[in-house]
């Protein structure tokens, strides 16, 4: 394995960053795909490969087991399964990548939610011999719920179905129809063999009927960030900077990361939840004054008026303020081992604000397999996804998750021990979710 000069120059010139996540069931070849991506993009270095080869030999395996590259914990290597999300980094001439490598097992749904929450793209892996199965639908549903902008369906193990186009076409059609129904904006289906290397990094000579991109080519060319600069501008205040030094006696800046949209000097703004207004007198981009700043830049905003602003407040354009509310209706994914119950007292963390809250109702629990809603389940346990109503002690400036992944999301936290209980998404859950019809005879509705 040698590194060519072009590759080297290219690695240094790649300037955009794509965050993506993988999802797949046990044994559908996810580790092989990740290993293949890392290996064929020359992101595995000699000493790592030697370590894997030595460990594989030590286990009596003849070929190096590429899964050992990605399974970093003792328990994972012992059991041959992935327990927790791992983050991996690789670069090609065109782009740098952060891969959230998530376990596919049903009991780790929460880990897939973790990986998908920051991803701009999800690769859902399917075994060509089995087609779309329950777990595939679950992965598509989570990608839709978390509103991951791009979904790739990788139909793997094409070598085991004679590289037959009709097999791929049928799976791609079934999956795309399902995902579209969920509101997934874009699905790209790619037939691959991760083991043989077909259409992962190199185009396949055995599937000349396929005219689309390889997995890597698609990852390199898909729009890297959902352009949020045109969205409702939101600036959660993280920290107040007051040097109180001889040089800066009166400096009072509100530090934070722009969650969505753009802010300009001279703009009239409102501070929520208080509703006080002022004008942007200046914006400092990490020490340097600028006229305009946009998401996701970390900046410091200076206001013309000396009004009360502190951590947890949100600064928004006066003409585009969200309504504040103390009654939050949302979809949550329960991520803790202890259950979430009606009446439970929790903390709710939304952007930089943490407030006391009570779970007023658990309206339904989603069955991911068929997307049916089980009404009034009473509680949610680990890996459940459900609709809840939460009453907060103070008003929140909460957007719909559909409008902003950043200002529409929140955590529920156990005040007793600090455990993260649930990941919350405000507003409607699925983009294309239709009005729920009345419950049928069995008490289920759709």
């Amino acid at each position: 394995m040698t590194s060519t000069t072009e590759q080297l120059a290219a690695q240094l010139s790649a300037t955009t960053l794509l965050r993506f996540a993988t999802a797949g069931s046990v044994d559908d070849g996810k580790s092989t795909l990740v290993g293949r991506l890392l290996h064929d993009s020359k992101s595995v270095l000699t000493d790592q490969l030697e370590a894997v080869e030595a460990a594989s030999r030590g286990r009596g395996q003849e070929a190096p087991d590429l899964a050992l590259l990605t399974d970093g914990l003792r328990a994972e290597r012992e059991q041959g399964i992935t327990i927790d999300v791992a983050y991996r980094y690789f670069a090609t001439p065109r782009r740098r990548f952060i891969l959230a490598d998530t376990p596919g097992h049903v009991q780790y749904t929460r880990n897939m939610v973790t990986g998908a929450s920051t991803a701009e793209l999800t690769v859902v892996l399917v075994d060509a011999r089995n087609g779309v199965v329950e777990q595939t639908r679950r992965h598509a549903a989570i990608a839709a719920l978390l509103r991951v902008p791009h979904v790739v369906l990788a139909v793997n193990k094409m070598d085991l179905v004679d590289y037959a186009e009709p097999v791929f076409a049928a799976i791609a059609e079934e999956f795309t129809a399902y995902a579209t129904e969920l509101g997934v904006p874009e699905v790209t289906a790619i037939p691959i063999s991760a083991l043989a290397g077909d259409n992962v990094v190199e185009p396949s000579a055995r599937m000349d009927w396929y005219g689309g991109p390889t997995v890597l080519e698609h990852l390199e060319t898909v729009p890297a960030s959902h352009d949020l600069t045109g969205c409702h501008a939101r600036f959660p205040v993280q920290y107040v900077i007051r040097p109180q030094t001889a040089e800066h006696p009166d400096y009072r800046g509100y530090a934070g990361q722009i969650a969505a949209g753009t802010f300009r000097v001279g703009e009239q703004v409102t501070v929520l939840p208080s509703g006080r207004t002022s004008t942007v007198a200046g914006i400092d981009l990490l020490g340097e004054p600028v006229d305009v700043a946009w998401t996701p830049q970390s900046v410091t905003v200076l206001l013309a008026d000396d009004i009360d602003v502190s951590r947890g407040d949100i600064i928004v354009p006066s003409g585009d303020a969200p309504a504040t509310t103390q009654d939050v209706r949302a979809t949550v994914c329960h991520v803790a081992d202890q259950p979430l119950t009606v009446g439970q007292r929790v903390l709710l963390k939304h952007t930089t604000r943490t407030v006391k809250a009570i779970v007023k109702g658990i309206d339904s629990r989603l069955t991911l397999d068929d997307l049916s809603q089980h009404p009034e389940p009473g509680r949610l346990v680990a890996n459940d996804i459900g609709r809840v109503t939460v009453r907060t002690a103070e008003p929140l400036a909460l957007d719909s998750y559909a409008d902003s992944r950043r200002t529409g999301s929140f955590l529920l936290i156990d005040p007793a021990d600090g455990t993260t209980l649930a990941a919350g998404m405000a507003g409607d859950s699925f983009a294309a979710a239709a009005e729920a019809p009345a419950a049928d005879d069995e008490g289920w509705d759709f």
Partner: protein, 311 residues
């Protein structure tokens, strides 16, 4: 200190951030979250490139105010003199406060015992965890990156530790969106890794862009070294070379800075940042694989040390 927004080629949006700007913005967000939520944070500062970049980011995050954190260095007693000088110079320059936890003190007091192999890296865990308890630090910034090692790839940005500083990978909090949960009980603390998503190359490219000064040992220079376990170690009072190990003068540089007894130099003629970056981009060895003896002790050496409280 410079702030620049690179023009990003190959994108349609005039607002796209370059990968370095995106990583910088994310790291600054993490620093400010800690400043907003914790009482007594501290930055682990060794004078190595990752901690130097961390400090640079912290300076930018709170400008024009001073960094609202103190620094902590766990001194193994086998540190490179150039690095200690750099450390002290930096602390003075920025008017910071530095706590030093000394492995040598622990050995002198008989609390820790020198290992047969002379490596002091694993001995850092006890002074580190005791310093955290003694000063009641509730957030401890580390320069660890997930690209360094496969156990570190599993690490959270906010990593809760119990009163013994232990890491339990099976009981980590899920980390969702950019909503970091820093809640902890008295006695517990949170390890915070603002450079989690950076790679070695990102760190070097950022150092170049920001024109950050580094200790000289990161650049090629002549040095008395000897070979042990396939690595060039610096001869010195720490206990090398032993009988049968021969020293020679070589042109070398360091990719990581740690305890002299287990941090190897690499052959190099890279005397400038450009040359270092070219060398790293072309290298077929990982940073730690090339230069850290303590990671080679077993397949899960890093995981095991992290469980005990190491970074």
């Amino acid at each position: 200190m410079t702030t620049s927004v690179d023009v990003v080629s190959g994108t349609d949006s005039p607002y796209a951030l370059s990968h370095l700007d995106a990583l910088e913005s994310e790291a600054v967000h993490i620093f400010r979250e800690v400043a907003g939520e914790f009482e007594r944070p501290v930055i682990l500062f060794s004078g190595g490139k990752d901690s130097i970049v961390m400090l640079h980011l912290a300076l930018k995050a709170f400008a024009p105010a001073p960094v609202p954190f103190t620094l902590l260095h766990v001194d193994t007693g086998h540190n490179f003199p150039e690095v200690l000088q750099y450390r002290d110079r930096t602390v003075t320059e920025h008017g910071l406060r530095l706590h030093v936890a000394s492995v040598q003190d622990y050995i002198d007091r008989g609390v820790l015992r020198e290992r047969p192999d002379g490596t002091r890296n694993p001995l850092q865990t006890v002074p580190l965890t005791e310093a955290i308890q003694q000063h009641r630090f509730d957030a401890v910034f580390g320069g660890g990156r997930r690209d360094e090692e496969k156990a570190r790839a599993k690490e959270r940005v906010f990593s809760l530790r119990d009163e013994f500083s232990q890491w339990d990978p099976r009981r980590q909090r899920p980390e969702l969106w950019q909503l970091y949960n820093g809640r902890h009980a008295p006695g517990e603390h949170v390890r915070v890794f603002p450079l989690s998503n950076w790679t070695e190359l990102d760190v070097w490219q950022y150092i170049q862009r920001e024109r950050i000064e580094l200790p000289e040992i990161y650049f090629a220079h002549e040095r008395e070294v000897f070979k042990r376990s396939g690595m060039w170690l610096t001869a010195g009072e720490w206990g090398g070379p032993k009988a049968g190990e021969e020293t020679e003068k070589r042109l070398v540089r360091y990719r990581t800075v740690g305890d002299m007894s287990c941090t190897g130099a690499v052959d190099s003629d890279a005397t400038t940042l450009d040359a270092v970056i070219t060398e790293i981009a072309a290298s077929r060895l990982t940073e730690r694989g090339a230069t850290r003896a303590d990671d080679k002790m077993s397949e899960a050496a890093m995981e095991d040390r992290k469980r005990e409280g190491y970074f």
